[in-house]
C-alpha cells in the first residue's frame, strides 16, 4: 500500500488545500503536507531492498482486464531515486514560491500537489497504459502552472509545451497498443505490463527502417526525446522555462524532464534491445550535438532563465549520451546525472527566481556587481554553478565523469566531442557569473543598498538542503548509487534479455 499511498496522498492533500477556509493558511499547510509526503517517501529507505534488482512493493489490481491493463505499481532501483527526488523537491518548491506566487495561491498549490501525484505515478507505474496515463496527466498541472502563473508570453509557451509533448506521446500510445497485441500473440493473453513487454520477442531487421522493432523504438523514442528534451526537439523547453513561475521551472527541470530519460531506461532500452543497439550511434550523436549545441546557445542567451534552460539541454544531452553508451559507466553516470541535474538545475531556477523577485529582470546585461550586493546569494549561486559545471567533489562531476568514461568506452570520437561540453559548460556559466556578479554595479541593482538584495532566512533554508546534497552526492556517491546498483547492473548486463522479477 505504500506506493499507492505515495501516489494518491498528494491528491488528498490537494483536496485538503482546496477545503482550507482561509487562503493565508494555504502556504504553511501545503508546506507541512508536502514535508509529510516526503517523510512518507522516506519510508522507502526502510522498505526497499537495495540488494535486489527485482521490482518491489508491488501492487497489482485489474483495471481494464480486457486489454490486460492493470493498476500495477512497483519500485526498483531505477525509479527509487526519482521518486525520492520528486518528493524532496516539492516542499522546496512550496517554500521557494512563498512570495513568488501572489495570485490564486490555493489553486497553485493544488496544481503542485496534482503534479506531484502524476510524477509519482509516472515513476512507479509498471503498466504501460498506467504509465502513459500518469505521463500525460502530469502535463495538465504543468500546463496550468505555466499558463496561469507564467510570464508575459505564457500562453504561447504553455501551448507549445503541451502540444510538443502530446505530439510525441500519442505515437507512443500507438506503440504501446502494438506491444499489447504482441503479448497476446506471443503469450496468449493481452498484457500491458512492462514486465511482459520485456519478454517479448520484437522482430528486428537490421538495415531496414520499416520493421516492427525499429518503428516501435522510434515511436517510444520520439515521445521520450521530446520530454528529455533532445536536440532538435528541444525548443519548447526554453520558452516553457522562461515563462514558468519559479516552482514550475524547478519541477519541470528537476522532475519532468527525468520522465523522458526514465522512459528510455524503463521502456526503450530493455524492450527494444536490438534497435537500441543499432541506433545507439544516432542517439549518441544527438546527445553529443545537444551537449555542444545547448552549451553554445546557452552562452549567448541574454536571459538568465533561458541560459539555464539551454544548459538543461546540454546536461540532458549528457544523460542521453550515457544511457546510449550502454555500458555500466555510461548508464550509471547517466542515471546519476539525472539526479544531479535535478538538484543543481532545480537550485539554479530557485536562485534565478529569488533574484527576479527583487529586481524584476532576468536580463544578464542589466546585472553586474551582484556579489557585493548579495554575498550569501552569490556564494550559493557559485556553489550551484560549480555543481553544474561538474567541479570535482560536487555531484555534477561524478555523473559527467562516468558518462564520459562510458562514452569513451563505447565510442571515443563521441567522447572526444562531448568533452567540449566540459569546456563550454564552464564558459557559459562562468561568463554569466562574471556578468551578473562581478564588475561594476548593474542597472538592475539600481538604488539597492549594499547587501540589501541578499536572500533571507527562508530562502537560505530552501537552498541549504540542495547545497548539502550537492556535496554529499559529490563526496559519497555510493550512498546514493548503492540503492540503484543492482537495477543498473541488471539493465546493462541483461539488456538483450532483460527481465524484472517480482520480489517475493
Amino acid at each position: 500500500m505504500l506506493l499507492t499511498t505515495l501516489i494518491f496522498l498528494p491528491v488528498v492533500f490537494a483536496l485538503v488545500v482546496a477545503a482550507l477556509p482561509e487562503e493565508k493558511w494555504v502556504r504553511p499547510v501545503s508546506f507541512v503536507l508536502s514535508l509529510g509526503h516526503f517523510a512518507a517517501t522516506c519510508l522507502l529507505f526502510w522498505r526497499f531492498n537495495p540488494a535486489s534488482s527485482a521490482l518491489q512493493l508491488v501492487e497489482k489490481h485489474a483495471w481494464v482486464p480486457t486489454f490486460g491493463v492493470n493498476y500495477f505499481v512497483g519500485i526498483d532501483g531505477i525509479s527509487f531515486w526519482l521518486v525520492i527526488l520528486s518528493a524532496f523537491l516539492t516542499p522546496l518548491a512550496v517554500l521557494g514560491s512563498w512570495t513568488a506566487i501572489e495570485k490564486k495561491v490555493r489553486a497553485f498549490h493544488i496544481c503542485l500537489f496534482l503534479l506531484l501525484s502524476a510524477t509519482m505515478g509516472t515513476f512507479l507505474a509498471v503498466d504501460a497504459i498506467l504509465f502513459y496515463a500518469f505521463f500525460e496527466a502530469s502535463l495538465i498541472p504543468m500546463y496550468l502552472m505555466i499558463g496561469v502563473w507564467g510570464g508575459s508570453r505564457r500562453l504561447y509557451a504553455t501551448m507549445k509545451f503541451f502540444i510538443y509533448t502530446m505530439a510525441g506521446s500519442l505515437f507512443m500510445l500507438l506503440a504501446i497498443i502494438a506491444l499489447i497485441f504482441m503479448t497476446q500473440e506471443q503469450m496468449g493473453q493481452m498484457s500491458a505490463s512492462v514486465l511482459d513487454f520485456y519478454n517479448l520477442d520484437v522482430p528486428f531487421v537490421a538495415g531496414d527502417f520499416l520493421n516492427t522493432q525499429t518503428l516501435l523504438f522510434f515511436a517510444f523514442s520520439l515521445a521520450f526525446a521530446i520530454k528529455v528534451p533532445m536536440f532538435p526537439v528541444h525548443t519548447w523547453l526554453p520558452d516553457a522555462h522562461v515563462e514558468a513561475p519559479t516552482p514550475g521551472s524547478v519541477i519541470l527541470a528537476a522532475v519532468m524532464l527525468k520522465m523522458g530519460t526514465y522512459g528510455f531506461m524503463r521502456f526503450v532500452l530493455p524492450i527494444f534491445p536490438e534497435a537500441s543497439e543499432y541506433f545507439a550511434w544516432f542517439f549518441m550523436l544527438l546527445g553529443v550535438v545537444g551537449i555542444v549545441y545547448g552549451a553554445l546557445v546557452a552562452m549567448v542567451q541574454p536571459d538568465i532563465k533561458k541560459l539555464v534552460a539551454y544548459s538543461s539541454v546540454s546536461h540532458m544531452g549528457y544523460v542521453m549520451l550515457g544511457l546510449f553508451a550502454m555500458n555500466l559507466y555510461g548508464t550509471t553516470g547517466g542515471y546519476y546525472q539525472m539526479l544531479n541535474h535535478g538538484i543543481s538545475t532545480g537550485a539554479l531556477f530557485l536562485l534565478v527566481g529569488m533574484i527576479y523577485e527583487r529586481t524584476h529582470t532576468r536580463q544578464i546585461s542589466e546585472y553586474g556587481g551582484l556579489a557585493k550586493a548579495a554575498p550569501i546569494y552569490t556564494i550559493a549561486f557559485l556553489i550551484v554553478t560549480f555543481s553544474s559545471i561538474a567541479v570535482p567533489l560536487t555531484n555534477g562531476f561524478i555523473g559527467e565523469f562516468l558518462i564520459l568514461l562510458g562514452t569513451f568506452e563505447a565510442n571515443r570520437w563521441f567522447a572526444g566531442v562531448a568533452v567540449l561540453g566540459v569546456i563550454l559548460g564552464a564558459v557559459y556559466m562562468l561568463w554569466a557569473v562574471k556578468r551578473i556578479f562581478f564588475g561594476p554595479r548593474g542597472k538592475a541593482l539600481g538604488h539597492y543598498e549594499e547587501e540589501s538584495l541578499d536572500i533571507n532566512g527562508r530562502e537560505i533554508a530552501v537552498l541549504i538542503p540542495l547545497v548539502i546534497l550537492i556535496f554529499w552526492m559529490g563526496l559519497f556517491p555510493s550512498d546514493f548509487l548503492n540503492w540503484s546498483k543492482a537495477s543498473l547492473d541488471n539493465l546493462v548486463q541483461n539488456r538483450t534479455h532483460y527481465e524484472l522479477k517480482l520480489e517475493e
Binding site: 525548443t235 546557445v297 568533452v419 562574471k434 562581478f438
Partner: protein
C-alpha cells in the same frame, strides 16, 4: 600519530581554516583571519615534516605511506578510493606547498591588512592549500584530478578576488576556462589509460605499465600522454594554453606567489614526474613535450624582455621556467624537473613576494618605469630580491644554477634530448638573465623615477620574514642537488641527494652520453652567457638609459611583435573566441529560432492554411454543399464501379 591521522590532519587543517574564515567572510579583521589561516597552514607544514621524518625512517625501497579514507567511486571495475599516498615525490611537493605556503600566508597578513575582505581572501587561500594537497597526495589520477580542478577553482576565485574590476573578473574566468581546456585533455588521457591498463591508481599503473609495455602498445600510451600534456599545458601554462597566466596577475600578489609561481602551475610537472613510468613508454610524446617546453621557455622569455609591469615580467618568467621543467620532463630528466620545480618555487615565490612588497610600498604601482632606485627605501626587499635574481639567472652557487644547469646538461646529453633543445635552453637562459637584470635595474637601481607623492616604505616584519626565509632558501636550496661533476671536485664530495631520493620512484632513462669535460664546458658557457647578458642589461638600463629605445626602434616590427606578446591573445580572441560567440548567436538565431521553431510554426501554418481552405469550401451556400455530396457520390461510384 600514525600516518593516516597525520595525512588527515594535514588535509583537514586548511579545510577548517577555510570554513572558519569562510563563514565569517564579512569580517574585516585581517589579523585574526590571517592568524587562523597561517596557523592552519603551519599545522599542515608540521605534519608534512613529521611525515617526512617517518618516510626517511622507512627502508629506501619501501618509502610509501598510504591511506584510504573511503571508497569514492565504485562502478564496475572502476574503483576509486578517496586515498592518499605520501612517497618520495609527494613529500617534496607537500613540503614545498605547506612550507612556502605558510610563508606566503604570513606575508599576506601584512599585505591584505587594509583589504575590505581579508577573511574571504584567507579562506580562499586555505581552500587552495587543501586542494593542492589533494592534488599531490592523491593516490590515483582521479584524486589528482579532484585537486587539479579544485586548485583551478581557487585560482579562479583568487584572481577575481577584486571582482568589481571587470578586467580582473575576466582574468579569473580566462584562467578557469583555459584550464578547463586542459582538463578536458586530462580527462581523455585518463580514459585512455583506464581502458588500456584498467586502472587509474598510480602504484598499479607503475606495476602494470612495464608489463604492458612488452606488448608494444605505444599508440594508446602516446595518445594518453599527449592528452595529459594538454592538461598539463593548461595548468602549467605551456603553449598553446599559457595565455591565462600573465592575466592571472590580476589577483593579489601573494596569490601570484603561491598559486601562479610556486605551487599550482607546477602541477603539470608533478603529474609527469608521477607518471614517469608511463611517459617513458611514449618517446614521441616526450619529444613533443620537450620541444613545447623549450619553445614556451624561449617565447615567454622574449616577451618578458619587453614588459613594463613588474608582475607581468615575473609571470612570463614563470612561464619560461615552467618551459624548462617540461623540457626536462621531455628529455626524461624527471629528478631535474622536480628539482627545478623546487628551486623555482623558492626563488619565484621570493620574487613575487618581493614584488608584492614593492607594490605595497609603491601604493599599488606596478609599472617599473615609475620605479627605480628603490634599494635605498626597501633594503630588506632589495637584498632578498637580489638573491632571487642571482638564483634565477643561474649564478653559482645559488639555487637556480644547479637545477637549470642540470636541465640544460640533460637536454644535451639525454638520449631523448638534442643539441637544438640545449641551444634553445641556453638562449632562454641568456634572455632570462637580460630581462631579470632589466627588472632589477629599473626597480632597484639607477635613478628614482618614483612620483613625488609616493613615499616608499619598507614592509612590516610579517612581510619581511617570509622574504628573508625564502631568500636564504634561494641561496642554499640548490645544494641538495649538486651535480656529480661538481660534487666530485668539492670538498667532502657532496652527492646529488635530491636525485638519489627520487631514484626509486621515477622511471630511469638510460644514461646520457657525454663526458664530464663537456658538462663543465657547457656549464661554463651558460653561466658566462647569463653573465654577459646580465651585464648587457645593466648597461642598457642603468648606464645608458637611452639605449633601449634606440634598440627597440632599430628592431622595428620584430620588437612590436614581441612587445605585443606575439599577438597570441589577439589571435585567440579574434580568430577563435569571438567567432565562436558570433557563431553561437548565429546558431541560436538560425537553427533554434529560425529553423526548428520555424519548422514547428510551419506545421502550425500548414494547419492554419488548410483551415482557411476548409473555411473557403464551407461557403454557407446550401447548394454548394449539395454539390459536394453529389460530387462525392460520383467520385465514390466511379472508384467503386470502375474497378
Amino acid at each position: 600519530m600514525n600516518h593516516a591521522l597525520l595525512i588527515l590532519t594535514l588535509l583537514i587543517a586548511p579545510l577548517i581554516g577555510f570554513l572558519f574564515n569562510g563563514l565569517r567572510f564579512r569580517s574585516h579583521n585581517a589579523y585574526l583571519a590571517g592568524a587562523v589561516a597561517t596557523g592552519a597552514s603551519a599545522i599542515s607544514f608540521l605534519c608534512s615534516v613529521t611525515l617526512w621524518t617517518k618516510l626517511v625512517s622507512l627502508p629506501v625501497e619501501n618509502r610509501v605511506l598510504e591511506t584510504k579514507f573511503f571508497e569514492w567511486i565504485a562502478v564496475g571495475t572502476l574503483k576509486i578510493p578517496f586515498g592518499f599516498v605520501v612517497d618520495q615525490i609527494s613529500i617534496i611537493m607537500i613540503l614545498i606547498i605547506t612550507g612556502v605556503g605558510s610563508l606566503i600566508h604570513l606575508f599576506s597578513i601584512g599585505y591584505m591588512s587594509h583589504d575590505e575582505r581579508p577573511s574571504k581572501f584567507f579562506a580562499y587561500l586555505n581552500l587552495f592549500l587543501f586542494n593542492m594537497l589533494v592534488l599531490v597526495l592523491g593516490d590515483n589520477m582521479l584524486m589528482t584530478f579532484v585537486g587539479w580542478e579544485g586548485v583551478g577553482l581557487c585560482s579562479y576565485l583568487l584572481i577575481g578576488f577584486w571582482f568589481t574590476d571587470p578586467a580582473k573578473a575576466a582574468a579569473g574566468m580566462k584562467a578557469f576556462v583555459t584550464n578547463r581546456i586542459g582538463d578536458a585533455g586530462f580527462l581523455i588521457g585518463m580514459f585512455i589509460l583506464f581502458f588500456t591498463f584498467g586502472t587509474l591508481d598510480y602504484s598499479d599503473l607503475a606495476a602494470v605499465v612495464p608489463k604492458v609495455a612488452e606488448l608494444g602498445w605505444t599508440g594508446p600510451v602516446t595518445m594518453a600522454c599527449l592528452f595529459l600534456f594538454l592538461g598539463a599545458a593548461g595548468k602549467s601554462a605551456q603553449i598553446p594554453l599559457y595565455v591565462w597566466l600573465p592575466d592571472a596577475m590580476a589577483g593579489p600578489t601573494p596569490v601570484s606567489a603561491l598559486i601562479h609561481a610556486a605551487t599550482m602551475v607546477t602541477a603539470g610537472v608533478y603529474l609527469f614526474v608521477r607518471l614517469s613510468a608511463v611517459l617513458v613508454l611514449a618517446p614521441h610524446a616526450m619529444e613533443v613535450i620537450a620541444w613545447t617546453g623549450a619553445l614556451t621557455a624561449l617565447m615567454a622569455a622574449t616577451i618578458g624582455i619587453t614588459q613594463w609591469d613588474i608582475k607581468k615580467i615575473l609571470a612570463y618568467s614563470t612561464v619560461s621556467q615552467l618551459g624548462y621543467m617540461f623540457m626536462a620532463v621531455g628529455v626524461g630528466a624527471f629528478p631535474a624537473a622536480q628539482f627545478h620545480l623546487m628551486t623555482h618555487a623558492f626563488f619565484k615565490a621570493l620574487m613575487f613576494l618581493g614584488s608584492g612588497s614593492v607594490i605595497h610600498a609603491m601604493h599599488e604601482e606596478q609599472d617599473i618605469r615609475k620605479m627605480g632606485g628603490l634599494k635605498k627605501y626597501l633594503p630588506v626587499t632589495y637584498i632578498t630580491f637580489l638573491m632571487g635574481w642571482l638564483a634565477i639567472i643561474g649564478i653559482p652557487p645559488f639555487a637556480g644554477f644547479f637545477s637549470k644547469d642540470e636541465i640544460l646538461w640533460q637536454a644535451w646529453s639525454s638520449p631523448h634530448g638534442s643539441k637544438g633543445l640545449w641551444a634553445i635552453g641556453a638562449i632562454t637562459a641568456a634572455c632570462t638573465a637580460f630581462y631579470m637584470t632589466r627588472l632589477m635595474a629599473l626597480t632597484f637601481w639607477g635613478k628614482s623615477r618614483v612620483s613625488p607623492d609616493v613615499h616608499p616604505h619598507e614592509s612590516p616584519p610579517t612581510m619581511a620574514i617570509p622574504l628573508i626565509v625564502l631568500g636564504i632558501l634561494s641561496v642554499i636550496g640548490g645544494w641538495i642537488g649538486i651535480p656529480h661533476v661538481i660534487g666530485e671536485v668539492l670538498p667532502g664530495h657532496p652527492p646529488n641527494i635530491f636525485a638519489h631520493w627520487l631514484e626509486p620512484v621515477v622511471a630511469k632513462v638510460e644514461a646520457g652520453h657525454g663526458s664530464a669535460v663537456m658538462e663543465w664546458s657547457l656549464m661554463g658557457f651558460s653561466v658566462g652567457l647569463a653573465g654577459i647578458f646580465a651585464w648587457l642589461a645593466y648597461d642598457f638600463y642603468v648606464r645608458v638609459p637611452s639605449r633601449p629605445k634606440a634598440v627597440a626602434a632599430a628592431l622595428g616590427p620584430a620588437y612590436r611583435l614581441v612587445e605585443n606578446k606575439y599577438f597570441v591573445d589577439e589571435f585567440y580572441f579574434g580568430k577563435i573566441i569571438n567567432p565562436l560567440v558570433e557563431a553561437s548567436k548565429a546558431i541560436w538565431l538560425y537553427i533554434d529560432v529560425n529553423f526548428i521553431d520555424k519548422a514547428t510554426y510551419f506545421a502550425g501554418d500548414l494547419v492554419s492554411g488548410l483551415a482557411q481552405l476548409v473555411k473557403t469550401i464551407q461557403n454557407g451556400k446550401t447548394q454548394s454543399y449539395a454539390l459536394y455530396m453529389a460530387l462525392g457520390v460520383v467520385i465514390i461510384m466511379t472508384v467503386v464501379l470502375s474497378s
